[in-house]
């Protein structure tokens, strides 16, 4: 088209001027700051609310896994108290807002008053041997936190039922222990110093003693029938005491000839140091005597009696270490393998692809099992598991690197590099590889939740057993809880919750990374 024909009839020719008449035309320096690929990806990532939230959660979990083991004193880490195993969360400071280690139960008269009786017995003192239930309700040793009104229901018998919350730590009540005399004196001194009561009178053995020889024998301290209904003795005859809030238990403590309470019996040994005594202690205080702390377990205790929060933090740490190691090793192997496959192509590719096919065909669970059966005894379960993950884990990475290499290797810039004399090595790693990094990083991050999940599943199924006395994995915690969680839900809730949180946040984080590195994929799969 001729430019002369473009003149406008309404505008005179002289009013037209050349736009760039006095300006030199050349490239301007960019006024804005240039932003590289990674900076750009980071910018996009921070715009995604979901993945930022996920990063914060991951950060918090990381802090949890890092600092809880450090901040937990070694003395607390090693506490493994069999009587305080499988308990719920309890904390003396948060006691009144519900973190009281209690379990809700529906109790019969007999059991409710048995539990209340533990609190009554704990308030016993030489000066005031008879304590009412009302008085004991204020005691810090009363296991029954609260109980509702009696309800009559169809339970097969006509006795009343109460909905009660019972502190499972205090419900341990009293225990018989066997100690040496020196220890006994030491404990007596400790009682004085701390003003806490350890020793309580032993229980007499007579026709009103219930449950002799049972693990809870030290808790049956009141005179009772052979069904553990409390009785009082009137003229040598046992008369049942009707259950009521104002009832008074009649104690069945052992007394000596001069009617003093007996606190210990000699059970063996001769000299001062070796003499053995059987004593009855209030376990809650005895725990403080042994470990020098009150039983404060914010997440409760695990199936063996370790602090759950400590076990969880080491479990998260172990799971994350496995996951990150696997992800890193797979990244390296996958990148190398995929690069060679994709770059050289042809026969090399064909052979290497067949090898990948075969490895990919082996079911993962079989790989893990075989590694466990063959190597776990030699190199340990942890290393065996790591090998199993690495054996086939890199296949996905290799496949995606291979695709990317196929895509880029015939592009002009690669040809240009080759013309300029760049070696294969340089072309592969300097020119092509950086193009695959975005996809690679994304898939490596998404490996982490996969590993955490499968580790927990394999541990749960008992195929692998990582961790031991000092460390544990999340899956092991779950599998320990698997048979008993219906009675002790906290053992399952905390590990399951933290695994779910980890999975959700790592998936969100990975999706966010993918969207950031490949904006054209955004939302395609989320």
């Amino acid at each position: 088209m001729n430019s002369n024909k473009l003149t406008n009839k309404n505008v005179k020719d002289e009013r037209f001027t050349f736009a760039h008449e006095n300006i030199k035309l050349h490239d301007h320096k960019l006024k804005t700051k240039a932003r590289g690929y990674f900076a750009d990806a980071f910018f996009r990532f921070t715009r995604n609310k979901a993945s930022v939230t996920a990063s914060i959660i991951i950060g918090l979990i990381l802090l949890f896994a890092l600092f809880v083991p450090i901040l937990t004193p070694t003395s607390v880490q090693t506490i493994m108290d069999p009587y305080y195993a499988k308990k719920g969360p309890r904390n003396t400071i948060l006691y009144n807002i519900g973190v009281n280690g209690s379990q809700s139960k529906v109790l019969t008269n007999r059991v409710l008053y048995y539990e209340l009786g533990k609190g009554v017995a704990a308030e016993f003192s030489e000066e005031n041997p008879v304590v009412t239930i009302e008085e004991s309700r204020k005691s810090k040793y009363q296991p029954v936190v609260k109980y509702g009104k009696a309800t009559e229901a169809n339970y097969g018998d006509s006795s009343a039922r109460y909905k009660a919350a019972v502190d499972q730590y205090l419900a341990v009540g009293f225990k018989y222990i066997s100690i040496e005399q020196s220890r006994y004196l030491e404990m007596r001194a400790w009682e004085e110093e701390k003003n806490l009561k350890l020793f309580y009178p032993l229980i007499a053995s007579n026709e009103w003693t219930f449950g002799e020889g049972s693990p809870d024998a030290a808790n049956y301290w009141y005179k009772a029938t052979n069904r553990n209904d409390p009785v009082k003795i009137v003229g040598g005859q046992a008369v049942p005491i009707p259950y009521a809030p104002d009832m008074v238990f009649e104690d069945n403590y052992m007394r000596d000839a001069s009617n003093n309470f007996v606190y210990y019996v000699h059970t063996g040994g001769g000299s001062f140091e070796t003499a053995q005594y059987k004593v009855r202690v209030l376990y809650y205080n005895y725990y403080q005597y042994i470990y020098g702390r009150e039983p404060n377990y914010i997440f409760g205790t695990d199936s063996q009696g370790y602090s759950m929060i400590y076990r969880l933090s080491t479990g998260v740490r172990l799971s994350l270490i496995i996951a990150v190691l696997v992800s890193t090793i797979n990244f390296v192997i996958g990148a190398l393998y995929g690069a060679v496959e994709g770059y050289y192509g042809g026969a090399t590719d064909l052979v290497m692809e067949r090898i990948s096919d075969i490895l990919a065909g082996v079911p993962f669970v079989v790989t893990v099992t075989l590694f466990q059966l063959h190597f776990a005894a030699k190199v340990g379960s942890f290393v065996g598991l790591l090998f199993a993950y690495v054996a086939t884990g890199w296949l996905g990475t290799a496949a995606s690197v291979r695709t990317q290499f196929y895509r880029y290797k015939n592009q002009e810039y690669v040809l240009a590099a080759r013309t300029l004399g760049a070696s294969d090595n340089r072309i592969m790693w300097k020119h092509i590889f950086p193009n695959t990094l975005g996809t690679l990083i994304t898939s490596s991050v998404l490996v982490i939740p996969g590993v955490i999940f499968s580790e927990s599943m394999l541990s749960y199924l008992g195929i692998i057993k990582v961790g031991g006395a000092t460390t544990t994995s999340l899956g092991t915690l779950l599998s320990d809880a698997s048979a008993i969680w219906t009675s002790y839900p906290s053992l399952m809730i905390f590990p399951a919750l933290i695994i779910s949180l980890l999975m959700i946040s790592f998936n969100l984080f990975g999706n966010g990374l993918r969207d950031a590195f490949n904006p054209q994929l955004r939302g395609s799969d989320s």
């Binding site: 067949r354 075969i358 059966l373 927990s456 695994i499 959700i504 799969d525 989320s526």
Partner: protein, 320 residues
């Protein structure tokens, strides 16, 4: 197409054979454990001698292959069900696995696809955001967590179902298809379905929202179709191209089942048999399970690839 299928089948046989060979040697090389009871020990030793278990391993391998091809004999169970052929032990366990997974698929496919379609149609509205958020949570949370949750709420709290584990065959009246058996399968089916539904929803939403924004949709609207017509006739059809092979893979996958769900709900399926075989070191069963899982995995892969060619005529198989 035919040539491509043949080539894939050939590769499948080759891969399968190599995996089986490696697994056979690795499993036979594991240390054997004899039962403590002397009579039993003598019996097993005599049987092993007769079956050639004491010959060099390469000869054992020959015998193994020969027995498979001539008698379809994959060895014998020595621990779980003494001297019963492995194929029989496993055969009795396929049905429970298939039933549970089939029920789960019957539940999840319609729900998952409908939710996915709904989310894609309402893309970027609050319904879509709600579904997508719930989906990411449900996809991420491990299936055993659902198993505990459904057990806890539907059985221990609400008592909506009569049991928290699967009834044994005898308890349920001798068949897997009684109403009583079905009532005990509700919980495992639910536990399996949550993840499945979430996965399908996500996939359907992604595929359909891509087709909904494509140009032929614009054309369809321009030529006068309503939005509903265009969606069902054009977008949905095209979105089904990748969804369908995925469903086929799921159907093949039901044979394999879920080990952890079978373990938690004590379903006597192939997954729990696998666990039994490695706990009791019953190697012939372990070997058969390996063969089984490998076969399912490889078959699923090839069927999915080939089904693309049948579903979408545009995809020419075997051409790069």
């Amino acid at each position: 197409m035919g040539k491509y299928i043949l080539k894939r089948l050939g590769l499948l046989v080759f891969t399968f054979f190599v995996i089986i060979t490696i697994s056979f040697f690795l499993i036979r090389l594991l240390p054997q454990e004899m039962p403590l009871e002397p009579n039993l020990q003598a019996l097993i030793k005599a049987r092993w001698e007769a079956l050639g278990y004491n010959k060099p391993i390469i000869v054992q391998y020959g015998i193994y292959l020969r027995n498979i091809f001539t008698k379809f004999d994959f060895g014998t169970s020595w621990k779980i069900a003494l001297t019963t052929p492995a194929v029989e032990v496993m055969g009795s366990r396929i049905l429970p696995t298939v039933i549970v997974n089939l029920y789960s698929l019957i539940l999840s496919i319609p729900v998952g696809i409908s939710l996915g379609i709904y989310a894609a149609i309402k893309k970027n509205k609050w319904q879509d955001h709600l579904i997508s958020t719930v989906v990411i949570i449900f996809v991420s949370v491990p299936s055993y967590v659902y198993a505990f949750l459904v057990q806890y709420f539907f059985y221990f709290k609400l008592r909506w179902v009569p049991t928290n584990v699967m009834y044994s065959l005898a308890d349920a009246g001798g068949s897997y298809f009684t109403a009583k058996m079905f009532s005990s399968l509700i919980l495992p089916v639910l536990a399996l379905s949550f993840g499945e539904i979430a996965g399908l929803t996500r996939f359907t939403r992604a595929e359909l929202s891509e087709t909904l924004t494509s140009e032929y949709m614009l054309l369809a609207r321009t030529k006068g179709l309503t939005r509903g017509q265009a969606t069902t006739r054009h977008a949905l059809k095209n979105a089904m191209v990748p969804i369908f092979p995925m469903l086929i893979a799921s159907f093949i996958g039901i044979l394999g089942g879920s080990m952890i769900i079978e373990q938690i709900f004590s379903i006597p399926g192939v997954g729990s048999l696998y666990l039994m075989s490695i706990n009791q070191l019953d190697y012939d069963i372990f070997m058969l399970e390996t063969v089984f899982y490998t076969f399912i995995g490889l078959t699923a892969g090839i069927v999915v690839d080939i089904s693309y060619g049948f579903i979408d005529p545009r995809i020419k198989m075997g051409k790069k």
